[in-house]
């Protein structure tokens, strides 16, 4: 989607070297299917001979013209070619996860459970690694406290995911683990994930 938009923009795109060249483009933290976001970051490689030729306002305008409906380019910034990759610059990511038609008691009871969950020092989960082997991982360092509020039958959880060794876990992992520990199996939980903010560590721009 994004790479085709970039091609439509006719900006001087850079390509990777090698047998199968592709656009130089990387998202700070790619979104999974069905997720929505208020804002994200993407690095795009452009070829300019001289930094002084770079007009970010022009690039902003060109990019906005080719975006699908509903996607707004908020800001364009020129970075030095040697700046760190976005993935390494993530400070934290805030999420809201809506769970539909939940049968919890009152909000007070839920908050009590959340307190217990948040005060755990270790939360070990079993997950499959890339090779398909099951490994045990402690996910407690990967997020700050989970909070919740109710909206009718829906419960909306808020949480902040923190990078550990430059990688971020999926926020759903935390919520599913929470529900598991509350013995909430119900029928299949219907969730919608919304990214509220992706915060970067400030880097020098030109």
């Amino acid at each position: 989607m994004f790479s085709r938009a970039l091609r439509r923009s006719k900006l001087p795109l850079s390509f990777s070297k090698g047998f199968n060249p592709h656009l130089i483009m990387s998202f700070a933290n790619a979104m999974s299917v069905g997720m929505t976001t208020d804002g994200d970051y993407v690095d795009v490689g452009l070829d300019y001979d001289d930094v002084n030729f770079v007009n970010t306002k022009f690039i902003h305008k060109k990019l906005q013209e080719v975006m699908p409906k509903g996607i707004t380019i908020l800001k364009v910034e020129a970075l030095k070619p040697d700046s760190k990759s976005l993935t390494k610059l993530i400070n934290y990511a805030d999420y809201e996860i809506t769970c539909y038609n939940m049968h919890f008691g009152s909000l007070d009871i839920l908050n009590m459970h959340l307190n217990d969950f948040n005060s755990l020092e270790q939360i070990e989960i079993t997950r499959k690694n890339k090779k398909g082997k099951e490994v045990i991982q402690d996910i407690r360092p990967n997020f700050t406290n989970v909070s919740a509020y109710k909206n009718g039958k829906n419960v909306i959880f808020s949480l902040r995911i923190l990078p550990v060794e430059n990688s971020l876990i999926k926020p759903e992992t935390v919520i599913l683990e929470l529900l598991k520990r509350l013995n909430y199996y119900g029928s299949k939980v219907n969730m919608k994930t919304h990214r509220k903010e992706l915060a970067l560590i400030e880097e020098d721009s030109f």
Partner: protein, 636 residues
Amino acid sequence: MKLNNFKHEVDNILNDVKKPITYTGNEVNSVHKDLKEDTIRFALAFPDIYEVGMSHIGTKILYGLLNSDEDVWCERVFAPWVDMEEQMIEKGIPLYALESMDPIKNFDFVGFSLQYEMSYTNILNMLSLSHIALESKDRQEKDPFIIAGGPCTYNPEPLADFIDIFVIGESEKVIPKLVDLYKEWKKSDQSRESFLKEAAELEGIYVPRFYNVEYNGDGTIKSFSPSIPQAKPVIKKQYIDNLDDEYYPDKFVVPYQQTVHDRISYEIFRGCPHGCRFCQAGQIYKPVREKSLDRILNDIDVLLSNTGYEEISLASLSSGDYSKIEWLIRELMNRYDKYKIGVSLPSLRIDSLSIDMLKEMEKVKRSSITLAPEAGTQRLRDVINKNVTEEDLMNTVSLAFNEGWNKVKLYFMTGLPTETDKDIEGIADLANKVVEEYYKVPKNKRKRGVQVTVSTSCFVPKPFTAFQWVGQVPTEEFNRKQRHLKQSIKNKRVRYNWHESNLSYLEAVFARGDRRLGKVLKRAWELGCRFDSWNEQFDYSKWEEAFVDTNINPDFYASRQRDFSEILPWDFIDIGVSKDYLRLEWEKSLIGKTSTNCKIGCEHCGMMGFIQEKNINSNLCFNKDLKSYGQSTDKI
């Protein structure tokens, strides 16, 4: 007309389906219009999932063409996959068009594209999901007109109960006229029936309800005739004379989701000069019509800049036959290599020229090449008029191996007329020889190992081919042939894949079926059949049940050898190619006599007369350019 759309309801179920993005539209270049009171709403319906339908060129052409009329808003609709279908039924969401999310039940037209027989149950399923009456006779005044076009409409009869209007031939030529007629009719205060009658008068329009069919005691057709004066006894297929003067989209909708052919497909010519006797496309798309280089290059440039695609595919039935193909590829490479835009050819014949072109285009990208000798022995290749020799094949693979390819896919058909076990063993032999050819390449030029994949499909006799009268080989015999081939392949470097014979049997039933099969289709759908061309959904036992329930013997359609005097269900369609020619081709096939291709000589198929009837200035059925080019590349 303003309608209530289902955007909100759809949003709520998207979380529960596998590919939500294929149900929401809003892609770049999708067309949204402000509705006026009299805007004509047209739903282009593709009876398969989004990823398949979005790869279809015909749909892209009609979408652009219809939307170029400011009085028409044409939208797309695809078959929802079973998970989405379940959600839609549960939540009471009717099938809606992707752009507006309005239910298509309230549209003026729903036009289905008929690409393969095994998508027929999806049409019924989509009508049902739309809450539109399945059968034409049950539709009310306000219901949309259900129309259908595409290659399968060259025998429209099995769908006669369900479709109001068939377009016979190339739809670009006919649908605008149909829409114009509709505009006039809509202003008048006349009945649905009256529109159908007026439509029946248009060239290339077939309205099945205005025809009577009588049958003989043995089940064959006794007579087939119009029941009203407006309906034509013979429907002439319609086609575009000059593609250069014709509309081609300047933008394609760019999907978010990867599709089957996720690239710009640009049609460089229509028709095919080769007269392979099993091939329907080669006959129905006659005559060969090329686009000019200028038109092709200009259009591709505009398409690339409007879509941002990174690959161009030069589409046609046999792209290597384009008269200036080498020039075209070189020019495209010159223009777009710096933007890392690739060029590909979807259909290549077995000749050395193809490999040279591949070398130029693909660089190191793909490791396998696909070739279709179709039959295992020269005798059988002559029967089907494939006109490639073992030598051609060996030269081609040798060249490919020398250029660094090490994987070859070979396509064959089993169950071709006159086939014996010798021909089956010939497939294994040919595959062995291809492997041997690899080891002739100097060791230092070889890659790891060689992999030859043999795929066989089961031959399905099709209308308007030399084989339209022959009975299909029984299913058990297909299975035996497959086992025999499996045993004959002893080389470890050769892999073997084969097609499900039950599916090919059903395809043979519907390809040459008549309107009595409507009952079977309906029953099969009631029993839960849809997505029959998807392995995981196909359930042959339900089809068997449907034939039993409707008291129809499928062998009558699939396996029966027809008499030449028999009235065939599709005889009322004139594709320009004569029945005498097809019969002669059949007789030549039995003695293994080949026919030449249109570039070299004329076999008097009848197309010339068909063209001259329309346009007295033309004395050729393909571009003049082709003629001078022909001899140099073809080595028959």
